[in-house]
Symmetry: C2
Subunit: 150 residues, 2 copies
């Protein structure tokens, strides 16, 4: 998929990713060693009542699932993430899907080979609850930039 | 550090974290398998001219460095991240510091044991360049919530 293939207003759903306790703990031990992410007994004493995934881990799962949307050949760079919100905890046993809604697109004024796409990302669990949402700005190639103009 | 200890207007600097190629590649192979993050030869053919860290990896480094600011006992949950921007690539050999500026704080109106703190986060490399910035909303305990009122 390239800039030209992005159909504003449509939603793509990909998945799923199954989270388990070992995954939550190993990610958090490396990157976010808070007891609520690394220690089941300690986590049970928190308001969450058990292990939850690090926010950074949840974003990593979002990133991994985005690879199932075929935009890899088009993507130039990540422009940024806005309004990242962690709506509900991600827990062991959760099965997560990613919903990508194409919100807007515009051609770059300075670089004719690309455009800027805004997407709304939602990570959704097996109960249909949104666990994470954010806006994503992506710089993406135009399909026509592959062609040489005679 | 608890809510009461947050001094709005001040900046804390912690670090550092040294990034190497193996770290960039192994993170990306698991969570963001784009050639610019996983394949040195392919990365050299991109506009970046070599391996760069995944945005998700860069956020993970930010999260890890935040553990050097002693707020772990106070933190209740992450409220969200706003205006996440990847200003420059993170490359092998980079040494990264985290600067946390406390921007605002207010007490929760519904839950007297906590407050909401807004911080500006900047990840800065060895040349003084900001590679990542974002606003962070943190729910954090009040120190007085530890005490039992007679």
């Amino acid at each position: 998929m390239f800039y030209d293939d992005i159909d504003v207003g449509t939603t793509v759903r990909v998945g799923s990713y199954r989270v388990d306790a070992a995954d939550i703990v190993s990610y958090a031990q490396r990157w976010d060693p808070l007891p609520v992410h690394t220690d089941e007994a300690a986590a049970q004493q928190t308001m969450f009542g058990g292990l939850t995934a690090s926010g950074s881990h949840t974003l990593a799962i979002r990133t991994l699932l985005l690879h199932r949307v075929p935009i890899q050949d088009g993507v130039i760079a990540a422009g940024g993430w806005d309004k990242v919100r962690f709506h509900r905890p991600v827990r062991p046993g959760d099965e997560l899907w990613l919903e990508v809604t194409w919100v807007a697109k515009r051609r770059s004024t300075s670089k004719p080979d690309r455009g800027i796409v805004t997407a709304l990302m939602k990570l959704i669990n097996q109960d249909g609850d949104v666990v994470l949402s954010h806006e994503d700005i992506i710089f993406i190639r135009r399909r026509s930039s592959d062609r040489t103009v005679p």
